[in-house]
């Protein structure tokens, strides 16, 4: 990404020069990940803004992952799962859907636009749909501009060199 910034300041605050949206993708191994592989073998070209994390099922995607991505500077999060009724594990994508619908409302309350969190059903055969979805999302996020979450204060870390306990978040 030519326009991406090269550094992040100490508290994770992203500099405002970012022009290109950064998107974290969570793709189900059985469908959307395969579709992305198919896009590759078919040499379909699409925007390079999405970084994909492979999970076995969209049902594995914990809302914590999504929020963690936003908190660490993602401008968008894209979840790719199997079409309704097609889950390799019967139900996982429905669980993902339920969570995503609720999470969407919470994100809205956090002031994060709808376009930034997207759940798409892309089957293993829909290589071109990967392009369509990613290009469309990138286009929309370009229009929206960077998310620029003003990150809250980081924890004050102990002088003793001890790790910050998990109990209190980041």
């Amino acid at each position: 990404m030519p326009n991406a910034i090269e550094s992040v300041s100490g508290n994770g605050q992203v500099s405002t020069e970012v022009a290109e949206p950064r998107i974290v993708g969570f793709f189900c191994t059985w469908c959307t990940y395969l579709a992305a592989d198919l896009a590759g073998t078919s040499r379909i070209k699409y925007a390079p803004n999405v970084r994909v994390i492979r999970v076995m099922c969209s049902g594995r995607i914990d809302p914590q992952f999504v929020l963690d991505a936003f908190a660490h500077g993602a401008d968008g999060v894209l979840i790719g799962g199997c079409h309704p009724g097609d889950c390799h594990y019967q139900q996982g994508n429905y669980n993902c859907l339920r969570r995503a619908r609720l999470l969407k409302r919470v994100l809205e309350q956090f002031g994060i636009e709808e376009e930034r969190f997207r759940l798409e059903w892309i089957s293993a055969a829909e290589g071109d749909r990967v392009r369509v979805v990613i290009d469309d999302m990138v286009e929309k996020l370009r229009k929206l501009g960077p998310l620029q979450l003003k990150r809250g204060p980081a924890l004050v870390r102990g002088g003793s060199g001890e790790q910050v306990p998990q109990e209190v978040g980041v």
């Binding site: 914590q64 936003f70 309350q109 003003k150 204060p153 924890l155 978040g169």
Partner: protein, 323 residues
């Protein structure tokens, strides 16, 4: 040689005062505490001043129990001062631990809060449109109010914290145990939350009534239904956050026929209570159809307020965007 009794202190920042009450609630056991330690600073009960604390040698207080979140410049200064003076700084209660109820203010900008409070609230009468913050000159010279910062922070976002005592307010048992533990010979690992590291269901009196599978077509609020006093509240469609909330309170709310609202924060393996609670609650929805799912979810009027009721400032995204 008489060994000097260890010194302890209590202080409050942005909080409702309930935590102070909780200390008093320790009741007769407070005597054990007093017997074991000297209270050197407790503005709500004892007449010590800030200057008294400033004069103490650094690190001379064994433990300071600070409740309340941090919103103003004064609170931040006091937190820093007490940090210097104390060996252990303990975040006491939900507000100090996670930001607490005051932390919900992070859904609003500072400006809109001041606007609401000083002008728009129906009970506000402010014909001169006075706002805090402007310096006032009188015979003592220029006076200013502490600065009201943009956002609410948990204590550990301002100073280093050694321990956390969770709860809104912390239950007496936890408080007593916490104080005595700190006075004891083997202090726990730094950073510990001084409450059991498991979720509330462990100690819930209704645990046995919970069915293996729950499938809900709607969520209910307590005032909407006749609550069965023996059955699991989630199974009745009430948004009980017990499964996602740290134990230690002995499920007092559930005992009182009210669902858990999550004041003790999440157990240790969870990064963010709100997200986890959301995930668990969503999985109880009995539908595979997007629009029906939305209908069911519409019965949760304020999801962010529900899942982040006590933990917004300490969550992954600490505040509404732009705040």
């Amino acid at each position: 040689m008489t060994r000097e009794k260890p010194k302890i202190a209590f202080y409050w920042c942005a909080s409702c005062g309930g935590c102070e009450e909780a200390v008093v609630d320790v009741a007769e056991q407070i005597l054990d505490v007093v017997a074991a330690a000297d209270i050197v600073f407790w503005p709500v009960a004892l007449d010590f001043k800030r200057s008294d604390v400033e004069q103490m040698p650094d690190g001379s207080i064994l433990a300071t129990f600070l409740n309340g979140a941090i919103r103003t410049s004064e609170q931040e200064e006091m937190a820093g001062l007490l940090r210097r003076k104390s060996k252990y700084l303990v975040a006491f209660g939900s507000c100090s631990h996670l930001g607490g109820i005051p932390g919900l203010a992070n859904f609003f900008t500072r400006e809109s809060i001041l606007q609401a409070v000083y002008f728009d609230a129906p009970t506000t009468e402010n014909p001169d449109r006075v706002m805090p913050g402007l310096p006032l000159n009188d015979r003592h010279g220029e006076l200013t109010l502490p600065y009201f910062s943009d956002r609410v922070r948990s204590l550990d976002q301002v100073v280093e914290v050694d321990y956390y005592v969770p709860g809104c307010p912390p239950q007496p048992k936890i408080v007593t145990r916490a104080v005595l533990t700190l006075l004891g010979e083997h202090p726990p690992t730094k950073g510990s939350v001084l409450a059991p590291d498991e979720a509330l269901c462990t100690e819930c009196p209704r645990k046995d009534s919970k069915p293996d599978k729950i499938a809900l077509k709607a969520f209910r609020r307590p005032q909407e239904i006749q609550i069965d006093e023996t059955q699991c509240l989630l199974a009745q469609g009430l948004l009980c956050l017990g499964p996602a909330t740290r134990a230690g309170c002995e499920a007092r709310c559930v005992e009182g026929n009210m669902p858990c609202t999550g004041c003790c924060g999440a157990p240790g393996r969870v990064r963010e209570q709100g997200a986890k609670a959301l995930s668990a609650i969503a999985s109880l929805i009995d539908s595979q159809d997007e629009s029906e799912i939305d209908q069911i979810l519409a019965t949760i009027p304020d999801p962010a307020g529900t899942f982040y009721r006590y933990s917004l400032p300490a969550s992954l995204i600490h505040n509404k965007r732009g705040v």
